[in-house]
Amino acid sequence: MSATKRGNDNPNQPRLNRNTRAGQSESFGDLVKLHRRFARGSAIRLLQTPASSLVTLFVVAVALLLPALMFGLNSNLASLLAGFQDSAQITLYLQDSVSEADGQKVSDDLLTRNDIEDAYYVSPSQALDEFGASSGLEGLLIEMTANPLPGAIVLTPSDVSSSAVDELARQLQELSLVDVVQVDSLWLQRLAAISNLVNAIGSVLSVIVILGLFFVVGNTIKLAIENRKAEILVIKLLGGSDMYAARPFLYTGLLYGLGGGILATLLQGIILATFNSNLEVLMRLYQSDFQLRGFGLMSSLLVIVAGAAISWTAALMASLRHIRAIDP
């Protein structure tokens, strides 16, 4: 090549310039091409050791799946809760002395509060009719001279979380005409508490999983680097930076994260399908058509992107650490 072509008054400076120029003159297309080549190289290397690559991929997928399932379960619980919002009821039993007109007025007043979604008044006679209809004891009740039932107001709170419902019930107890406050949503509150618990477990699990991924991917990268020590050594001898030598391993990490994320979303689809067929039988008993929903597109994408990001970062840290240790 044209060593002879080069004018060389100061062989240092022109070379510096030339190298930066070569770097800068890369168009975006060239850069994409370069990265594609690296990515392809990394993918080919993964395929060269299919067994160990698959094991790592599977471990990454399962690690991503655990917290994802937790959050998926939680969002299902949340939607279940929302569906039952109507049944989060508070019943105010009014004192016997309260007239129907006063009861109706109290009910209308309550409707103006914004922590109350809905309120309606049930007069003692309505209550008796309903009781008679649902119990089948109409005949018997006609015989009665006095109505033993009090008037009541049935409320639907706007916020069904247990703390909000408790607070509302406490405030309502203070009202002068109210005799007893009965919260009908205890089981709903329990469900909400369980949902919170699932969420908390999901968060803790996420932290554990991120640490675990760092370990698994880091270890895989470490082994890969050991296998290619000679190559890294040569690259360093020729002036390649640690970052340059790390590049293929970053793609390896990225591919593990992407592949693991995709595998995780597929696995959760399979798991949910299995669950739903069993759940259907259970839910039919409760006359509900509730079904566990999958992650949805956004959540699936989130799992994949998070997996890729975590895995890439783990690969970056591991490769820089181990490559730095290779010293010609």
Binding site: M1, S2, A3, T4, R6, N8, P11, N12, R15, N19, A22, G23, S25, E26, D30, K33, A230, E231, L233, V234, I235, K236, L237, L238, G239, G240, S241, D242, Y244, R324, P328
Partner: protein, 225 residues
Amino acid sequence: MIKFDNVSKRYADGQEALSGISFEVSRGEFAFITGHSGAGKSTLLKLILAMETPSSGQLIANGVNLNRVSKTQIAHHRRQIGTVFQDHQLLRDRSVYENVALPLEICGYQPNDAARRVRAALDKVGLLNKEKNFPEALSGGEQQRVGIARAVVNRPSIILADEPTGNLDPELSAEVMKVFQQFQSVGVCLLVASHDAALIERLNCRTIVLEGGKLLADQKLRPHA
């Protein structure tokens, strides 16, 4: 361009490989380093390439003080140097072409530009027809020439060569030396470690003789050559 000032190198095991070496090689100069096996030739080249650091004395190459260099400086420094390694240091899972292209890839050359340079370098060492082969399928001499092509492909300002003609017959050796001399003529500084007395004699270059880590002689060109 390269300046040794009372440089000594003691390896971790206490072995004194170089002691009190002082010499200077300027731009456009071609110098041989000779001496018996174990005299310290490879160690001297490794110091210049920052593979080892001097135990004492001052070493400056290409404007870089090699007594105190950072990692980034080392990487940049090595990109300015073309090195032919005694043990070739070729990558077994890359073709001849890819091996020679590696320094260009590291410097971020565009593929088209790189391809022209790689072919030109391979042409210089007569291996254009082997570009798709893998190093294991090459003879020792051919591997050596791949290493030489890789050393010159990036137009370095310094070329270090450790026994570059150890496996070559006299004709090929002469070819390689001609390539080196082309680089010398455009101002590249060359340091070539060699045992090949006949070759050194014929080329009539400056010769630095090492003996047990000491500088035994620094023979300039013979005036009548």
